[in-house]
C-alpha cells in the first residue's frame, strides 16, 4: 500500500509529456516564448521553501521547453527591494510573475496596478486584484496524515514541533497535527518551540534537541532545514520531513514527509496565459489537487499504520474527512467548534489559537 506518488514520478511524467508537447509546440506556434519571472525570498540552495519553488520552475521549463523562458531573483528582502524587483520583471517583458512569499503581497499589488497586462501570482497571501491571483497549499491536510501516524507510532505520546513564526499557516499545521494524533490517542501532547527564523539549521537542531531531552519521541517542523529530522535520526526517535523528501538525511527516522509540489500549478498557469484563459483567482489546493503530497512511508511505519494513514489521505481527498471538524476545544478547554461543525476556509486561514493538547 506504500504507493504514494512521489515528486520524482511526477517530474518524470511531466518530462515525458513535455517532450511530446514541445515537439508539437514548435510547429504549432511561432510566437516568442512566454517570459515567466520568479521572485524568491531565500536562496535556491536553501533546500527548503525556495528550493521547492525552484523545482516548480524547473518543471515548467521541462514541460514547455523553449515555449517559456524563466527568470528568477533570489534572496529578495520583503519590502522596498521586492517592489523594485517585481517591477523590474514586469517591465522587462515578463508576462507572468510568481511572487513566492507572503511578504511580497503589498509590493506585488502596487506593481500590478501599474502593469495591468502582466499577470501576477502571489503565494500564501489573501488579496487579489484583476491581474493578481493568490495561490496556497493546504499543507495542514498533510499534517493530518502525519498526526495519524504519530498517534500510532509514538510511545511517549508527546511530539515536538519546531515552529518558525506563529503565522496562521504554521498555527493551523500544529492544530491539524495535534487533532489527528489525539483522535488516535486522546492524551497526545504537542510541545512547540519557536526558532524565530525560517531558516537557521543550528537553532532548529538546538530546539529539536531540547525537545528530545524533554521526552518527545516524534519530531515535526515548520522550518526549512532538515536539521530537526537529523536530530531525530541521531537520537533514535522519529519525525516528519518538511517541504521535500528528507529521507537522505534521516533514512530511519523519517516516517513520511509533506511535499510542496508547485509543478502542476506553475505549468497550468503558464498554459492559461498561452491559451489566453488566465483569470485572477484565489486557490487553496491540497492533497486532492496534488499540490500537497506525502513522501513514501519510512521503515518505522508498520503496515497497518500505513494503511490507516492512506485511508486518512484518501478520506481527505474524497472530502469525507476534514482537518477541522468539531468537537474542537482550545488550549483552555473551551469548545471552539461544536460537534459535527467544520471550520470555514476563512476561519482556518486566520487561525490564531491552539487546540487542546498543544503547549505553545
Amino acid at each position: 500500500m506504500k504507493s504514494t506518488a512521489t515528486r520524482r514520478d511526477f517530474v518524470l511524467g511531466s518530462a515525458a509529456a513535455a517532450g511530446a508537447l514541445s515537439l508539437a509546440g514548435r510547429h504549432a506556434f511561432a510566437a516568442d516564448p512566454l517570459k515567466v519571472g520568479f521572485v524568491y525570498v531565500g536562496p535556491v540552495g536553501d533546500y527548503g521553501w525556495t528550493h521547492g519553488h525552484d523545482l516548480g520552475r524547473k518543471a515548467m521549463v521541462t514541460h514547455f521547453g523553449d515555449k517559456v523562458k524563466t527568470t528568477f531573483v533570489e534572496s529578495v528582502t520583503e519590502g522596498p527591494d521586492a517592489e523594485r524587483v517585481i517591477r523590474q520583471l514586469a517591465s522587462s517583458g515578463h508576462g507572468l510573475v510568481f511572487a513566492t512569499s507572503f511578504g511580497f503581497m503589498n509590493p506585488t499589488l502596487r506593481v500590478a496596478k501599474q502593469f495591468p497586462k502582466v499577470k501576477f501570482e502571489h503565494a500564501t497571501g489573501y488579496q487579489t486584484s484583476p491581474n493578481v491571483s493568490v495561490y496556497n497549499a493546504r499543507f495542514h491536510e498533510g499534517r493530518v496524515v502525519c498526526g495519524t501516524i504519530a498517534g500510532r507510532v509514538s510511545k511517549s505520546g508527546v511530539a515536538g514541533y519546531i515552529g518558525s513564526f506563529p503565522i496562521p499557516e504554521v498555527v493551523m499545521g500544529i492544530n491539524a497535527f495535534a487533532l489527528a494524533a489525539r483522535k488516535i490517542r486522546p492524551d497526545f501532547k504537542v510541545k512547540v518551540v519557536w526558532a524565530n527564523s525560517w531558516y537557521d539549521p543550528g537553532k532548529e537542531a538546538d530546539g529539536a534537541k531540547a525537545l528530545v531531552d524533554q521526552g518527545v519521541d516524534i519530531m515535526c517542523q515548520h522550518t526549512d532545514s532538515p536539521a530537526p529530522l537529523q536530530v531525530a535520526e541521531t537520537r533514535g526517535i522519529h519525525g516528519f520531513g518538511q517541504a521535500s523528501d528528507m529521507k537522505p538525511f534521516a533514512p530511519n527516522a523519517q516516517l513520511t514527509a509533506i511535499l510542496d509540489v508547485w509543478d502542476g500549478y506553475y505549468i497550468q498557469r503558464a498554459q492559461d496565459i498561452m491559451d489566453g484563459t488566465w483569470k485572477s483567482h484565489s486557490i487553496w489546493w491540497g492533497l486532492e489537487e496534488g499540490m500537497v503530497k506525502m513522501a513514501p512511508y519510512g521503515p518505522a511505519v508498520p503496515e497497518a499504520v500505513a494503511r490507516e494513514a492512506d485511508a486518512v489521505r484518501e478520506a481527505i481527498i474524497a472530502g469525507t474527512r476534514h482537518p477541522f471538524t468539531g468537537p474542537i476545544k482550545d488550549q483552555k478547554g473551551a469548545l471552539r467548534v461544536a460537534d459535527g461543525e467544520t471550520l470555514s476556509e476563512k476561519e482556518i486561514a486566520a487561525m490564531d489559537w491552539y487546540v487542546e493538547g498543544v503547549e505553545a
Binding site: 515536538g160 543550528g202 538546538d206 534537541k209 531540547a210 537529523q230 537522505p248
Partner: protein
Amino acid sequence: MNPESAVLVMLTVMSAATPLLFAALGELVTEKAGVLNLGVEGMMLAGAVSGFAVTVTSGSATLGILCAALGGAAMALAFGVLTLTLAANQVATGLALTIFGVGLSALAGSGFVGMPVMPLPKLAVPGLSDIPVFGPLVFGHDALVYLALLATGGIGWFLAHTRAGLILRAVGESHESAHAIGYSVIRVRYLAVLFGGTMSGLGGAFMSLSYTPMWAEEMTAGRGWIALALVVFASWRPGRVLLGAYLFGGVTILQLHAQGVGGLGIPSQVLSMLPYLATIAVLTIIAAGPWRGRLDAPACLGQAFRPPK
C-alpha cells in the same frame, strides 16, 4: 531535572558553543596581534562548504576538516593581502570579506545542496563512556569538540607563556615599538590572521560536518557575528571566550527548553532575546565588579601599519 537529562542538556550546550568557540578563539588571536577581521562569518562559510564538499567527495572527514581549515585560511589570506600589505581599512575589508564569502560558498556549494554526510564519529571509549553522567560528558563528543577545548588552553598558554605569544601581544599593543625592537609586524600579523581564518574554517566545518551535517547556503546564520562579540565579551582572554561561548550557548538552549516546557505566557521573541541580553548583563557585571581587571582592547586594534622608511 534528573541527572541524565541534565547531561543531555549539557551536551547540547557544548555542541552549540563549539562553532562559536573556534571562531572566537581564532579572532582573539587575530585581534591580539592588532588586526580586527569582521569577516568571520565569511570565513566560517568557506570552511563549512570546503569541509563538506571534500568530505563528501573524498569520503574522508579528516581530509574534509583539513580542507575546511585551509578554506578559512585562504579567505584570511585575501584579507591579509588587503589589510596588511595594502594597508586597507580593516573594518570595511572584513565586511567585504563576509559578502564575498557568502557568495563564494554558495557558488561552490550549489552542487552539494540536499546531500547527506555521515556525522563525525563520537569518541566512545569502551567502558568509560558508559559511566553515568561523567562518561558521556567527558567521552561523548567528536574530535572537533575536544580540539576546540584544547585550543582554548593552548592559546591561553601560548599568549601568556611563550616568547612568540609575547611578540604577538607586543605587535598588537604597540606596533611601532615592536618594529623598533626588530620584529616584523607584518609577518606576525599575517600569521595571526591566517590562524584566525583557520579556526573560523574549523568552526564552519563543525557546523557542516557535526552540528548539522549538511550544506545549505548561509547555514552559519550569523554565528560569525556572535563570535566577534564573544571576543569583546572575553576582554581578549581565551578562558573567558570559553565562558562566553558556553554562556551564550547555554542561555540559547535554556530558552528553547523554557519554550518546550510551555505555559510561561511569554512571547517566544522575548525568550529569544535572552542570550543577547544575558551577554550584555554579564559583561556589565564583570566590568562593574571589583574583579574587573583590564577590559581594554589591544591598543593597536584596527590600525594599519606600514614599516616606516
